[in-house]
Amino acid sequence: MGDEELAKDLGLVSAMTIGIGTMIGAGIFVLPGVAANEAGPIVVVSFVVGGIIAMVNAFSVSELGTAMPKAGGGYYYINKSLGPMFGSIAGMGDWMGLAFASAFYCIGFGQYLVSFVPLPEVAFLDPIQVGALFAGLAFVGVNYIGAKETGSVQTVIVTILLSILTVFAVAGFFSFDYGTLTGNGGLTPYGTGAILPATALVFVSFLGYAKIATVAEELKNPGRNLPIAIIGSVALVTVIYAVLVTTMLGVVPWPELSQDAPVAQAAEVAFPASLGPIGGVAAAAGAVMTAGALLATASSANASILASARINFAMGRDKIVTNWLNEIHPNYATPYRSILVTGALIVVFIAALGRDVETLAKAASVLHLIVYALLNVGLIVFREADVPEYDPDFTVPLYPITPILGAVLSLGLVAFMDSIEIALSGAFVVAAVVWYFLYAREKTDRKGVLSEYIQDREAELPDRVVDAADAVAPTGTEGPTIMVALANPRTEGALITLASALAKHEGGRVLATHIVTVPDQTALDTAAENRARIDDSSESLLEAAKEDATAFDVPVETKTILSHRGFEEVFDAARSNDADTVVMGYGGTKLAGGRAESTLDELTHDLPCDFLVLDGETVDISDVLVPTAGGRSSDLSAEVARALRDTADADISLLHAVDEGGEADGEAFLTEWAAERDLGDATIRVESGDIQSVLTRVGGEYSLVVLGATERGLLSRIVRGSPVFDTIESLETPVLLAERPSSRSLWERLVGRGEE
């Protein structure tokens, strides 16, 4: 909580810098020549149209970003809303889109570099590609090492760029000539039909605002700063583009505008050759513009490489890609593998497509536009599914018009691309879907809001919709993990039997762990040397566990854990193994002996998952008594009872203790409680007296009592001793204590485990 605040250190200016720094490099320095050559002076309108499309999407990104300020941006929202298949498409689209964009920025860098330094041709690479490769490798290297100086440099770069461009605009204003602008076939030499194809080309200039969302978790006050930064940076660059492109075209006739280094060329014309006695002003201005262009394209590429690592991380977290990719470098603390893989892609794109800057630009745009379209659909799904926790600070104006418009405009713009880019992007989309079905579907366990929504309304929706949703649903939802913490061979059979019954019922698996407590004085590696001895006892215990579980026909895994801590290690193991339920013996809790109470409270206050603690060495599940007074933990005991009934034919009796005279109410309550929990066939017993005395009286008639904790902290009370548990301990019948942590909402399950 407090820590989280500390992690947020990006203010509004920094956030806008990220957006502007990424966008401005491409639009102004690389494309005006190429785009003007295709559309004539009307290309200014193409830029404005691109800005409008970006703005509509910027609203949607802002809403989603304030609802979920998480690393990953567009991919993350789409995976949460539309599920992992579309998530895979979005992740791939975002990632490849950034790689294409980075390659494009590198080529832009190369174009200006060759005007400074003559570069040779190498093999099949022209000098621009050589410069681009050099740049690409340098940017990857900087990110690999993770020089944090690049970040602060970014702010300086953006400030310098804005100053340079302002000076240029002023100089351009004075040498602006309307005749130059219209002198070659008027404003629309190729007709107005050329506007949208040119927009398709220059849209790459607007691919920066969404990167702000990928670092949303680092923003201070994201509810306010995220929308302002995203919408503000789009508005600002649109205005800058419109003004500067107009200026350039009024200074240099559009057919003559350089295809490679337009800003440097325009600056040389716009500035006077000399200011009074100082000569060479125009040449100097051209050189400054070239330097600016190098900075601008470098910062765009740099920001894109960083953003792609964020997307990889988010995909790894959802198990769409292997987490191998997100390993952190031991010395540089950077996600170096992700950076290297992205770097390799950039190099390939530069080498293969670097002669055609348009293809790189448009491929980047198509992939991003696909992501934007999905993202708008995802927003509508979040709103319509009415997920209560979806609570954005910023909401799009004119819902549902804005997101629908965003999706339509994004896909509409794709139609103006050339077939090669569409084919290329289509190939990546297909690859993403194939990847999902071959790899990710089995691994990921994240269902989208959309599929939850469809499954919840199975009856109301056409079968085809439901079937289609099932057909693409992740299979990684492999049921819960029931972890058994074994300590004592005598209780092994009983614990495994209970765990197996649960696992079988829920379609889950059993993880049998043997936690070997090593005295504090012994280092863990010394203990590991004594492995042979430990292994023997551990192996026979876990072997027995395996056999018992296999008898139930449930998948079982075993694990020996060496630890200095006993009881606490159970919590860690449950967390690190993503256990959904822990089954352990009452004796096991005694491992905690000697620990400071405060530590215990802290542990038991925040259970990582459901806990079932058995008091008893053997278990006979023929007659099961479930006392209840309602509440979260007795929901858990009801689940256990159902599992025992369905897998082991246990007879279930429900018990509710009431005060004298409350029998009728008690029976009504219990009958309803049973029906709601699918236990309508259970025997209903209402007894008067307090629960302790009732249990003492009737407990002996049953073979197992499943008792839910009535309030939090059951475990800590067991460990520290409490009068209620004296009753339990004195009871002959084995008691299974059930405690469920404070509820994890649907939302928490969707967006991953809650904060610790």
Partner: protein, 145 residues
């Protein structure tokens, strides 16, 4: 026996800055033979302070948890402390102040000069800017000498 007093004093509460799981385990083992009374593991999440971080916050926090778990395999009662800062050394001293540590114990991560320079080896700054004892632990391991 004033020297004994000084020693117990020195190792009364050791702040142990650790970078990752492996480093944490090695550092903790290096400190273990000296028997500190109390240990607080510190992980500094490097922040850009004005620019995006090298790694997502969530990932950094996972790494922090891993390092604490690694330290606790050696010192089960170790406390933990997470700092967020651009200047790692300053964050270490701030944390020492905050948890009232009697000394800071660290273990150089090694590597040649270039790697040390690039990854920001903090030995020099730690040693020169300290406002309390700083203990350089020996690198007794052979694996990554």
């Amino acid at each position: 026996m004033t020297s004994v007093d000084a020693e117990t004093e020195l190792l009364g509460h050791v702040l142990l800055p650790v970078a990752n799981e492996e480093d944490a385990l090695a550092t903790a083992h290096a400190l273990e033979p000296y028997g500190p009374d109390h240990v607080t593991a510190l992980h500094v999440v490097e922040k850009g302070e004005g620019s995006p971080d090298k790694t997502p916050v969530e990932q950094s926090e996972d790494i922090a948890e891993e390092t604490y778990a690694a330290v606790r395999t050696v010192f089960p009662d170790a406390d933990d402390h997470t700092a967020y800062a651009r200047d790692v050394v300053e964050a270490i001293f701030d944390a020492a102040e905050e948890v009232d540590a009697t000394a800071v114990a660290y273990r150089s991560r090694g590597g040649n000069r270039l790697v040390q320079f690039l990854s920001g080896d903090y030995s020099l700054k730690l040693a020169t800017e300290a406002d309390r004892p700083v203990i350089a632990l020996p690198r007794q391991d052979t694996a990554d000498g």
